[in-house]
């Protein structure tokens, strides 16, 4: 059971009701966030920008989100983003591989290096050295790596949020 209220549309502050569908639907994460509508002024545009296709394609972003959520064992985010990753074109075997530490080596070179960088970013950012950075930059530009870092960091924040507040997995 969630440790914060998951507000239905008619319980939510007036200023935040547009975050629900016409049928009153919203993700459980949104239904928790609307308890604090002020922060949504900046949070929602920020999350929209970070999660949208920018200099990094959506498939790469979702692969990062799923990997970070796997590392943090966030049941909510995995329930929401594994299907999303498939929807945006991440091959099923890659989604499975980033959720299974023993299968990471089966990923293509680009994804394998990215996962190595992500793992250290989440678990031990101080261990990221020039050599690893150079290997990642063989596959992505520096601005893309910055965007990937922000996707990973944002995912980390939401993983901790969802886990701490026990947001239940989406029943998708």
């Amino acid at each position: 059971m969630s440790r914060v209220r998951l507000l239905e549309r008619d319980e939510a502050p007036l200023s935040a009701r547009h975050l629900y569908g016409d049928d009153g639907s919203a993700s459980l994460l949104r239904r928790s966030l609307v308890n604090a509508p002020d922060i949504l002024e900046t949070l929602m545009p920020f999350l929209a920008q970070v999660s949208a296709a920018g200099s990094v394609d959506l498939a790469t972003k979702e692969l990062v989100v799923v990997r970070v959520s796997h590392l943090n064992r966030c049941a909510y985010c995995l329930s929401a983003h594994r299907p999303l990753a498939l929807d945006v074109g991440v091959p099923p075997d890659q989604v499975a591989a980033v959720c299974d530490d023993t299968s990471v080596d089966e990923l293509p070179e680009r994804e394998r290096v990215l996962v190595e960088w992500i793992d250290r970013f989440v678990l031990d950012p101080g261990s990221i050295d020039d050599e690893l950075t150079a290997r990642v930059l063989d596959h992505v530009r520096d601005d893309q790596l910055i965007e990937i870092a922000l996707v990973a960091g944002t995912t980390q924040m939401l993983n901790h949020y969802c886990t701490a507040f026990a947001i239940p997995p989406e029943g998708r």
């Binding site: 200023s15 935040a16 966030l33 995912t155």
Partner: protein
């Protein structure tokens, strides 16, 4: 910017000029229609400290609000409320809502400076019949109020009467008017209002559910955040209703006022709802 927007909203009648301050959710009574489910046994005694109330009042005046309302819970449950009201009343015209049951001689003495300020105490009284009144508001309520009001008037403190109408007859209300006139309180200072079906009144099935335009928006500050009007920060089954919350941030007041005006204007927050993260 907020000051300009507020001035325009006030001019166009889209909101009221009063800022309401919910000093506390705590109360020594447990009225059957209470919006905030206040009662003596409440576990979390959420309150806004007196110095914060004064700071909010100063900000309200700077932003262009015209008056203050102080309510609760029972505002005189807060030990420093008499002195706080003196400070509030020196900043803006103030009305403080009270159940009128805590006015000891010592308390009355501390309230005497209010006689020289634009401060009114609005005392709740629902019937001229003690039994009828006390059924709604609690044992011995009528006797305490009937003692307190003349004592306040005698000290030159402005008193208003507020009557919450449930099933009182016209004859009963007429006798109530006779009573407040006998205390020197004019009909202009007698507020009669219906029960709003929120909080405990909703649980009890009392009153009328207000429509979206039935109540004039008036910025209302509580320990839980800022709300759209004073009937908004209700509590039901121990949980504060958030449907009419406009901001969790109340300080600086400008931030709450800006969001309040945004809601009054129908502006949503965080309009880009496309984030796949959420």
């Amino acid at each position: 910017m907020t000051r300009t927007a507020l001035a325009r909203a006030l001019e166009e009648g889209r909101c009221g000029e009063r800022v309401w301050l919910y000093a506390t959710y705590h109360c020594n009574l447990a009225c059957v229609y209470c919006l905030t489910e206040s009662h003596p046994g409440i576990a979390r005694r959420r309150a806004v400290p007196g110095n914060q109330l004064v700071g909010l009042a100063q900000e309200a005046r700077e932003l262009g609000f015209g008056s203050l309302g102080v309510t609760g819970g029972e505002v005189f449950m807060l030990p420093d409320m008499p002195e706080t009201l003196v400070e509030l009343g020196s900043i803006l015209p103030t009305v403080a809502l009270t159940n009128g049951t805590l006015f000891t001689d010592r308390m009355l003495g501390r309230l005497e400076p209010l006689a020289h300020l634009d401060v009114a105490l609005q005392v709740s009284l629902d019937s001229p019949d003690a039994v009828r009144n006390d059924a709604l508001r609690g044992p011995e309520n009528f006797a305490k109020v009937a003692d307190a009001i003349p004592a306040l008037v005698e000290r030159g403190i402005k008193v208003r009467i507020a009557t919450t109408v449930d099933d009182q007859s016209e004859e009963e209300l007429a006798r109530l008017c006779d009573l407040h006139r006998s205390w020197g309180i004019s009909d202009d200072d007698h507020v009669v209002r219906g029960i709003v079906r929120r909080g405990r009144a909703a649980t009890e099935g009392m009153g009328v559910e207000p429509g979206p335009t039935d109540i004039l928006p008036e910025l209302t500050i509580t320990a839980d955040g800022a709300f759209l009007h004073p009937f908004a920060p209700t509590v039901r089954n121990g949980v504060t209703d958030l449907d009419l919350l406009v901001s969790r941030q109340v300080s600086p007041l400008e931030a709450a006022a800006r969001r309040f005006l945004g809601v009054v204007a129908g502006q949503p927050v965080g309009t880009d709802a496309s984030a796949t993260f959420t």
